[in-house]
Subunit: 451 residues, 2 copies
């Protein structure tokens, strides 16, 4: 008789595992059932700001694979099914659908419950038109509100990349936008000097930045909708509020069932994505991962990790060999005219991890300086003074700048020293960069400092 | 008394070494004299096709540093000085300038003589309007001919990247262009399947391709200028001919002085750029280098190598520690609407080097498929069947495709397996690529084949 693989959560981590497992085992061997709380599977969460801003017009474009398409490939997807409990002893999950609760058996279980937006318990937080942003449904709710209520003022709480992408999307919709950020810079995954470049870009499109400013609460109008955001002695007019305070792993289900959850709040797994419970795997935003440079266990919500972990789980749950090797925190975002990217450790992270960081920042161009269309790019490289090892890199620049972060990422991943990285055989032709690519130049400069 | 560092050749390799040495030693310690045959120093040879095509209008833009600027920084540059002999026993070089020969002493000598275009001894090769392309002077000669003689038909001999860049430049000048290439594909540094994509792009802008076709000679008109190119039974009308048959190291000076020259034709050096002769270094296109994947000694003419080798020579000639770590043949070119890039070994190279290559080719996009401006990109990844190690990568695609080669280069450089590379932490956001970047996707596909 076929074994039964049950997946909780129908987005990147879960459905990648389902697809990989299906390719490796046919339906006689393995039944695959996925339970998804919302109406959508396998969508690009990272595309939601572009749906809100109107860069992408059709929400269906963000859906990589619909429930029907999964079913056509032998994966039994149940949408509108909320998994509310795990009974590991009986090998059952507890599901609520259409208002009634029932139990479903499993032989193999994959938790791919994702993450949930941080929603601080502040006065007025339950007012209408205060939106988190995690699921495609959230994105569609925001878009509907923008179209029907035509808000004049928006406040984005939190200046991380999702908050900033949303700020830009709202500006594109003709809304006046203020961003309130508790720390002194937007994009706090960058060092302060690089974040300042992003702040300038936001101000240039008319975004009002309130940095070093914590939100105290929300004013509500007589209609039950938010009317202002309170931050210190300011009341910022707000017809709509976007919470961009980051996300935390949705690990409650696992924790309640006695599965080990780490200090980062994510489910603990081994490199094969196995949890502490026999026959239970986890993948995607709900797990914690090892940062290869700092050695720390971290929770970072990125589609690239979810896809790779889903692939590993799909292989190891069907008795194959695969390893998730950890992360170095590589990320990129388009913020107004700028491409903003980072990898590895910031200076402060490096110090906390016991390194002695030294950094260099270079200004260069995306093409040879004399070549038409050359755009400015600033690259920062961080290395360990004692060993010369590259620890981190950050890039802020215009078109063609950002994706160079992947080269730094590959160097950091492989524990190259800055000097080794500077001598790496990178491509060059005038339409693509200067003869010392900006990332090599930054590495060379920091190598000179540690030498 | 100051020691005397003499440099033969005033472009990338030589002048980088001069600049680095000058930063490390002041003029009381070290006198630096550079002899350059032409009138130009430190120019972007890779920019010449763009000068010919009119993308760059001012030749001065290609000059990174003029002789006067070098002199202002304490490097005594002598232009129009042709070094014709080395007398290692007496520690002197023999120089011809203004028609007279003289000797100049050195304590330290750097040979940075560059490369010279291959010029086959074919009937008619000395006709007027048959141009090689190596120096800025060559580029200016070609541009002058185009402007004054307004040729109708051009033939480019050789379908490598310089030949193809020149073909495109000539099309931009309104000239009808035929390319004659002895092997069955243009861009033979790619595998055949990838080269075919480049052939299509050339035909799309009206370039006539004669592949598998060797040139037998040139017809000359009564004015002494070339009139046609003979290739088999064809006579291709030609008012101008560009020789794009590649270059060979200019190592005769070294060889004649008894300095070791390798089988590739390049001067042999150690990783500190020291030649076989005491107190004599070499850098740039004139040297041979170790290919890190094949282990072979090769001569590859690239500005990135010349700059890096010049840096190493500048450091080691002033008693510092630096290493040139070898190459993996990373290169990029813009050919018509396409970005064409390669790194590591082709399938045939891999077989010759004793590997058992297996390859995968993927079609993907430069942005998320649904994101406006997503362009097609084809990536090929080559791995060793036995070990899974990545051996080579090739990319042909539109805007935003090509520079991804650097990520593959960093992976190959660090001897990653295809599986490890697929799991690398690369950046992702919809404006920059799909969640599996095309290079990761290609690696994943080839990893599945070797698994």
């Amino acid at each position: 008789m076929a074994r039964r693989m049950v997946i909780v959560g129908g987005d990147a981590g879960g459905m990648t595992a389902a697809a990989v497992a299906r390719r490796r085992r046919d339906e006689e061997d393995l039944q695959i059932v996925a339970f998804e709380r919302t109406a959508h599977t396998s969508y690009s969460a990272c595309g939601i700001p572009y749906l809100v801003g109107g860069v992408v017009t059709d929400a269906d474009d963000l859906v990589v694979r619909t429930p029907a398409s999964h079913r056509g490939r032998g994966v039994d997807v149940r949408i509108g099914h909320d998994v509310v409990g795990l009974d590991l002893a009986r090998r059952e999950i507890v599901v609520v659908a259409d208002g009634s609760e029932r139990r479903e058996p499993f032989d193999l279980l994959l938790l791919a419950t994702g993450a949930q937006p941080v929603r601080p318990r502040l006065p007025g937080i339950e007012a209408r038109n205060i939106f988190g942003l995690q699921t495609l449904a959230d994105g569609l709710d925001i878009r509907r509100m923008l179209e029907h209520e035509r808000p004049e003022h928006a406040v984005v709480v939190g200046g991380g990349y999702i908050g900033l992408e949303m700020a830009e999307a709202l500006v594109a919709r003709g809304v006046k936008v203020a961003v309130v950020e508790a720390v002194d810079q937007p994009m706090s995954t960058l060092d302060l000097d690089m974040g300042a470049l992003v702040a300038d870009a936001l101000r240039a499109i008319g975004v009002e930045l309130h940095l070093g400013s914590a939100v105290d609460g929300f004013d509500t109008g007589s209609d039950g909708a938010v009317s202002a955001v309170r931050a210190g002695d300011r009341a910022l007019a707000a017809d709509i509020v976007i919470l961009g305070l980051g996300v935390k792993p949705a690990s409650t289900l696992a924790r309640d069932a006695g599965i080990e959850v780490g200090t980062s709040g994510g489910i603990v797994t081994d490199a094969q994505m196995r949890t502490s419970a026999e026959g239970v795997w986890a993948a995607g935003d709900c797990v914690e991962v090892r940062h290869r440079v700092s050695g720390e266990a971290v929770s970072i919500s990125l589609g690239t990790y979810a896809n790779r972990q889903g692939r590993v789980a799909g292989i190891t749950m069907t008795d194959g060999v695969a390893t998730f090797p950890g992360v170095i925190g590589t990320a990129i975002a388009k913020i107004c005219a700028y491409e903003v990217a980072r990898t590895g450790l910031r200076e402060q992270d490096a110090r906390r991890a016991g390194f002695d960081p030294v950094s260099a920042r270079v200004e260069s161009t995306t093409r040879a300086g004399y070549f038409p269309g050359a755009e400015p790019v600033t690259v920062k490289a961080i290395a360990d003074r004692g060993t010369g090892r590259l620890l981190g890199g950050q890039i802020v620049g215009k078109s063609g700048a950002g994706k160079r972060i992947d080269v730094l990422a590959a160097g950091i991943w492989n524990e190259m020293t800055a000097e080794e990285f500077a001598m790496l055989d990178l491509s060059y032709a005038p339409p693509f960069g200067p003869v010392w690519d900006p990332v090599a130049l930054a590495a060379r400069k920091v190598a000179d400092l540690v030498a």
